[in-house]
């Protein structure tokens, strides 16, 4: 009998092309806010609001059910101020601070890119893509990201559920809402 082309062999060049187009569109995002949730492998659950400003500045608000143990982290990934019920402190290692004080952590350094489904610029990354040319898995800076599904936000496709694993923690994240997405209007590099 005739051998049918296997449906899932999407042409690699096609995927690469789709990835370039997708990446260019998403990389134009200069600021955004996401509201979501995180579940750590040890059972800790938290609600997360992440406000990303143009450049590296961000504000993260993390809390358990009914707002229990609310914590605010703001600054740039390696120089943050952390506000808790005990007051305010500075740290250059927010991921370590979270692990030690809250019993879980999340990729504070990389989230600005990884939450959007992009590798961070400037460090090596191993990537695989889905048939639509979007990031499926990413290994970078000691973390492995697995993008489980995407959601349409305007004419952009942004992550909905993804897993983030490092030596210290297994994390599942859900983005319930994308908001205030601003794109930088300078034309894409390879116009």
């Amino acid at each position: 009998c005739a051998t049918l082309p296997k449906p899932d062999t999407v042409d690699a060049a096609q995927v690469a092309g789709k990835w370039q187009a997708h990446r260019t569109a998403v990389a134009a995002i200069s600021s955004f806010q996401l509201n979501g949730r995180a579940g750590a492998g040890n059972g800790i659950k938290a609600d997360l609001r992440w406000r990303q400003y143009a450049g590296a500045r961000f504000e993260a608000r993390i809390a358990g059910p009914f707002g229990a143990g609310a914590v605010a982290i703001s600054g740039t990934p390696h120089d943050v101020e952390i506000r808790t019920k005990d007051g305010t402190e500075q740290t250059t290692d927010p991921e370590g601070w979270m692990l030690q004080r809250a019993g879980w952590t999340f990729p504070i350094d990389g989230l600005r890119w990884w939450a959007l489904g992009l590798p961070a610029p400037g460090t090596p990354a191993k990537t695989t893509f889905d048939a639509q040319g979007r990031l499926a898995t990413l290994t970078q800076d000691g973390w492995t990201l697995q993008y489980l599904d995407y959601q349409e936000v305007g004419d952009l496709s942004l992550p909905h559920r993804f897993a983030a694993t490092s030596a210290q923690i297994d994390l599942r994240l859900v983005v319930d809402q994308w908001q205030d997405i601003e794109t930088s209007h300078n034309p894409p590099a390879s116009s």
Partner: protein, 196 residues
């Protein structure tokens, strides 16, 4: 005082309760963090079910011995001893009064349109510090909760408004039991509860 009396009405007179709830979370600037709704069922002693249905599902079930916390989007269930998790958290205030006294000072906030305002001020004595600045609970004359406000450590507020409250309900026993769906990771934290 009146705060204690109102709380006792809730704990002693309300053996079973079923209600819907609307929950709105505000940050310290009054900006809305989330809006959720669901159903709350309570059967004393110690059994309750807190189910968020909108905009996404999340379920907490306490069978008196363990608390199951199921989040389909995260495909994960945590199961913890009820007495550990309950201390100093909203769940303790719902299920058992006994523990309440250990974790909170009970004060009266007077009457507000017919309901008694009970203020639960965390004791924060030594080793056990609460995750909240203050919990407020409005209780109707018949002992039924009308509203709860959780004041978080950053100055934000989680406001829970109850509606359609029914008491003297007979529940099917299975309501307060939980069987993890196939393919869901069950995380059983042992006694030491590191986080929430």
């Amino acid at each position: 005082g009146p705060g204690d009396d109102a709380l006792n009405r809730f704990v002693n007179d309300v053996k079973t309760l079923s209600a819907t709830f609307e929950q709105t979370q505000y940050d310290e600037h009054g900006e809305i963090l989330s809006q959720r709704s669901g159903v709350f069922d309570l059967q004393r002693p110690g059994r309750f079910r807190w189910k968020y249905s909108k905009p996404y599902e999340q379920l907490m079930v306490c069978d008196g011995d363990k608390i199951w916390n199921y989040e389909p989007d995260l495909a994960q269930v945590t199961v913890r001893p009820a007495n550990i998790v309950l201390k100093g958290t909203p769940a303790s205030l719902l299920a058992q009064k006994g523990q309440l006294g250990d974790s909170f000072k009970i004060e009266s906030g007077g009457k507000q349109d017919g309901a008694d305002l009970v203020k639960l001020v965390p004791k924060n004595d030594g080793e056990q510090t609460s995750d909240f600045e203050l919990i407020e609970l409005w209780i109707a004359p018949n002992g039924v909760p009308k509203e709860m406000k959780f004041h978080d450590a950053l100055g934000g507020i989680t406001d829970v408004l109850f509606g359609g409250v029914k008491t003297g309900v007979s529940f099917d026993a299975s309501l307060f039991r939980f069987a993890p769906p196939k393919g869901t990771e069950v995380v059983g934290a042992d006694g030491n509860d590191a986080g929430q």
